[in-house]
Symmetry: C2
Subunit: 200 residues, 2 copies
Amino acid sequence: MAKDTKERILDTALELFSKNGYSGTNIRELTASLGMVKSSMYKHFESKEEIWNTLLDRMTAYYAERFGSAENLPPVPDSAEELVSMTMRMVDFTVLDERIVMTRKVLAIEQFRDGRAKELATKHFLSGLTEMFTPIFAGMMEKGIFKRDDPRMLAFAYTSPISALIHLCDREPETTEEAIRQAEAFSRHFIKIYEAKNDG
Amino acid sequence: MAKDTKERILDTALELFSKNGYSGTNIRELTASLGMVKSSMYKHFESKEEIWNTLLDRMTAYYAERFGSAENLPPVPDSAEELVSMTMRMVDFTVLDERIVMTRKVLAIEQFRDGRAKELATKHFLSGLTEMFTPIFAGMMEKGIFKRDDPRMLAFAYTSPISALIHLCDREPETTEEAIRQAEAFSRHFIKIYEAKNDG
DNA sequence: TTGACAAGTGACCGATCGTTCACTATAATA
DNA sequence: TATTATAGTGAACGATCGGTCACTTGTCAA
């Protein structure tokens, strides 16, 4: 029951931090939305900052678990169309999963103030995606689906625009459908350019 | 002299907001770094929030002046190499100009809390760049430098990765040189793909 | 010279911040 | 049944927040 409350505090903290940032969130509001009184929080965390650091721990662990381990990487697609559908599954998931959305928001807000948030932001927003797709493009080149090229450059060129659209969804959720369409259009355009086809 | 102080308050506010966000910045610290006492600020602004709104006004006006007017748009390059140099001039400028860096940081921090910051963020980070480069790519297709394609899609595909690297510089200034090299490498790679050349 | 006004000051306001602490209720353990 | 640990409470703490106000200073026009 103690652990449960601790988790609920972290969940609510993520929610509020993603709206108002760390300094814009206060303990009273946090605990009140859990039906508690502020002093109760200190039975689970010794300070507001410890909540923040624990949240970062959780983000770091989650990221390592989900994107860090090799066995969790997506398989190399067997066709260009399969790359599209794999990409769109990833986009759908990352844009619709509330916790991931809130995590990105918190990192965007706190990236200039906190060193660990900065590191996580670079991973989430840039290097992580590039590193995830580099072996995919390398594999698809080996399979003859894509022309030979620098797989890392392709991964960077492919994931950055999609990442920009994901950020757009975070910022303007009402444009999510349109942004997802744009992501798919970009994916297909990208493939048309790089595909190792011989017909027109 | 009054106007001068008002401008200095706005400059310092931009600096502090870009570090600690709006709610993480207090009037005492702001005025103290101007050698003033906090009550003096209220001779120039009627509240902290008015500083914030005036700052947004200034950002909006600056953006409209610099990127909004057609006559300020860069000319269509006459060669692919010219596109590279134009791009790199733009990247250098936007990454080294302290005020623009701080503006992007503020928008990144406050984009989820303030409606106007959200709009400006989308312009700065996504749509503005796409709209700026769409006529450039259209023009370069007309000139036969690039293959015929959707100019808006190309502008999006070209500017998003560069924008991602600019964000990286904001977040990790110590990697600026490397990021600029990456931007140039990407630009050249992009051109090689889309160039309307006939030699293999 | 005087009067008006803008700019800056320092003391002070109430509200809110994160945090502490003595206390109670509860449930498991011995 | 008595004991102990845990979770939650409510009052209170000092610090800090944004903001106000009576006041002084300097400048310039009448």
